[in-house]
Point group: C2
Chain length 195, copies 2
């Protein structure tokens, strides 16, 4: 069974894909709005995991709606959820099983139980979250066991997290993203697979 | 890392243990109140999965409290949750990681997010639910792919489900369990592993 896994190149989505790989024909997919964006490091992360990787288009109007939301709210949670849900639905048009790296402890992005059921009912897909039953400490321990991980603040690390897109979109509108996002948000990028 | 997995011999706990086995030193554990209870089929299910199996004691006072609850409520949900939580806590005294086969769609037994966090905080364990992020259809598809499964109503199939214990406990008190439990509740027992 083919499974499309949302993939930022970070440790959580990478671990989710690794846990699914023995049981599904996994493809990892990174959604970005700009065709010109450099995703070489994300592609390399997919290759390091031995997984098929591809980029997919996050349309300008979806990113625009998320940035509208970001500006209206003054904080990023709803905007990130909006992009995440759109990406899951887009993936569900192509794969019978869609997956992501959301964990038990995550708050954003996160679909509630009713939203997850609605996604499956509307799209006729199975939505699988292999890390949903794992607390953060176990996710980090397993990720550290299987993955060589680089860490750094958003914007300093070339992963495919939605936050990069949203920050860039704000800057294009002449809005400083600094006060809208948490002052410290460590991102991760998978640089290799430990054997 | 050692992981103790609550195990009834049914498809869900078996699949949960199988998914964890590449990443943990898994032991599957069946809690029963009577030392004399025949668990040969459950032991055989563990052996079919290539996993270390053992029985553990559900004390008479725990089963008694659950049956009190069952009688007071007139339905089994809270009684089953009571036994399940006690078993998880007992397991957490022995293993750094405890796990079970609860799924995304399960209602009983099920710990809410706050209860799961409380278990981990109180016991210093990680509580892992490998099927929590899997909808029922995917659990059943994967179980069918990896496991040879026998199906039947509670009491007709020799697995280690809590319902058997609770029904027996009611009968010992001269109470007919029939009206308290759902009239139809299909149980499963793993009879082998498909390769």
């Amino acid at each position: 069974m083919k499974a499309g896994v949302l993939f930022s190149g970070g440790k959580d989505s990478a671990l989710a894909a690794l846990l699914l790989a023995p049981h599904y024909e996994v493809e990892v997919v990174t959604f970005v709005s700009g065709a010109g964006r450099n995703l070489a490091a994300v592609e390399a992360a997919g290759a390091a995991l031995g997984l098929a990787w591809r980029r997919a288009l996050l349309p300008g109007e979806v990113l625009g709606a998320a940035i509208d939301r970001l500006v209206a709210d003054g904080y990023p949670n709803n905007a990130i959820n909006l992009v995440h849900r759109w990406a899951l639905e887009a993936l569900a048009r192509e794969y019978p099983v869609v997956a992501d790296g959301t964990r038990f402890d995550d708050r954003v992005p996160m679909l509630g139980p009713d939203e997850a059921r609605s996604l499956m009912d509307r799209c006729g897909c199975a939505y699988v979250r292999p890390l949903l039953g794992f607390p953060r400490a176990e996710v980090d321990r397993l990720a550290g066991r299987y993955l060589a991980i680089e860490r750094g603040e958003t914007g300093r690390i070339p992963n495919g997290d939605y936050e990069c897109e949203l920050r860039a979109g704000l800057r294009e509108r002449g809005i400083d993203p600094t006060p809208i996002f948490p002052s410290s948000h460590e991102q991760t990028l998978v640089r290799g697979r430990k054997r």
